[in-house]
Amino acid sequence: MRYTGSLLLTLIVCVAGCTPPPEFRQNAVEVKKLELQTLGEEEQFAAGQLEDIGSFLTAAFGTPDEPDFPGLVEDDPEVNLVTQEHLVSAAGPVASLEDGEAQGLYREHCVHCHGISGDGSGPTSAFLNPYPRDFRLGKFKYKSTPLNVPPTQEDLRRILKNGIPNTAMPSFRRLPDEEIDALVDYVKYLTIRGRTERDLLSILAEDPDPALDFIASEEQFEAADEAIEAAVESGDEEPYPPLFGPNDVVDEVVFPQVDQWFEAVDSMTEVPQRPVELSPGHPDRDMWIARGKDLFFSTGACVQCHGKLALGDGQVDDYDDWTKDWMKTLGIDPAETERINEFVGLGAMPPRNLIPRNLRLGNYRGGSRPVDLYLRIKNGIEGTPMPAAAVSLTSDDIWSLVEYVRQLPNESLSQPAVQQPVNERAPR
């Protein structure tokens, strides 16, 4: 009896301490996809080459408990895309330091949906519609930059603070700014790590010769150098040099992405002033909105997906890029359950149609500021079938569309049947 307490404590410490530290998962879907594309059925990439990629990722980006980022300059945090301090407070197990500073923020707030590797398949992901974002494609929907440009720091902050209405992404407004910034950095970290893995796999797929040393370590690199020299001297056939030396991947695959993230802020889409005619209360407003309506059905082509009544029923059988990335690329039909299940087993989410937004709900995922709607129409939504606006649409055209869409939820058609007020009565 006397020892029950201490026994229990030992047990708890042991159970907690004996759990193996979490590891980043290999992007098995991407591996399988590329194998099918370049090698054919039953064939696989050489295990050693995949290991090369894994070892490089661990060396460059660390582990979920001890993250690292290539090329961080300690004395000058200004030049770093992410700071070591932010990564440390976002990564690792949930804890708080003696001074109250929080640790393990990602695992406290994000991991159950977005997953330890940022692949969007955490334990709760299966219950969500839409699915949580898989960061590894490097695509972000709601941002102030054009397609194929990363979001700005402010874009990610805004999403964390406001959440994404009508999805399971909650707002983290109550977190201190420092913690939000730490999480933003961790999202960038997971994104760049995930994309580096994908890029390396694509490079491997271009020339999947198993004899090739894919990424050489310092020693392997020197040994290969010596072997080549020796071969030249003795006149033997020269062996292949390794494809990447120890630092090449960082220079050629990681840094270009870092540069893109840094430069994103310079590519922010310019939003010209909204014409005064469209400000609420202006006598010409209705005329301009009618023009927006015209465009909705004509040049804007909005009607094709969002439907004649803007209920989001123009088409309902398309998919987002995260699904298309493997399903469409490999030409798998959603009805081929066996093949679909194979990929689901590897970590892909079961394909689900991406339904266009019902514009009568007045609920905008990327933010409900007029400028947010302008950006959505102007730039499209990355990763979805929503395209950027046709070049022929002027900024006045887009503003007319924005204001037409913004007033849709207030039309009588959009209002629900009269609700029964429960405790409303006349004053006594």
């Binding site: 922010m268 500021r369 405790n423």
Partner: protein, 266 residues
Amino acid sequence: MNRVWSLLFLLVPILGTLLIVWAIFGAWPLAGLWLPENVNEYGGVIDHLFNLILWITGVIFIGTGAILALTMWPAKGGSRRAAYVHGNHTLEIIWAVIPAGILVFLSIYQLNAWAENKMDRPVEVVDGEERLVPPSVRVVARQFDWDFFYPGPDGKFDTVDDFMVTGEVHVPKNQPVVFQIESSDVLHSFFVPSLRVKQDIVPGMKQFVWFEANKAGRYEIACTELCGWGHYKMGAVLEVQEEEDYAVWLQETTAKCLAISQSFEE
């Protein structure tokens, strides 16, 4: 042995009372477990009812505990054999009638509190005419967050200048405030412990809660109806501000939420 059992049972009311008193004083490690300070002008009546019921149940709890311990205490020289009793009509009537009487008393006694908090919405006089204070914020609960809709500069809902803030709502101090509460998916419950306001939210129904906060500060909003896996994190902040601060906040937030140009600040 009977004495040990008797004393053990006596410990229940003693420890129970101790725990409650401890929690009320908020001493370690029970700090912050009792209800927070009431900051709602209309909340006093809820506190009063709560305390009254706590006293009634407290007295009964201690009394029954004491009687239980007493009956177990062995009588001097008494036989240790238990006697079989086939009911006692007088006792049964007493312990049925007394609680029933208390319940009837409470249900009549609380009528005003119910009316004040659930039926008689505050009124205001506009242009010499009395009218109900209109809702200043529309609260929409969703899995798993709170969206707060403001009517915007024109003061009317369902117009193009409405705007929404997620996770945080501001109200002015010392003013009757009415929230219109709706759900966009499943059952939720809107609870602000510091205001003593709690209202279940039923999809398809439109309900109103009102309060008058008398102390500036940030207060917790929680969902108190299990609504899904994310229920535990479905919270928000209610910030009560001095009137001037509130006006500034409202102006800034309106400008931010109706922004028609990109800016770097959030």
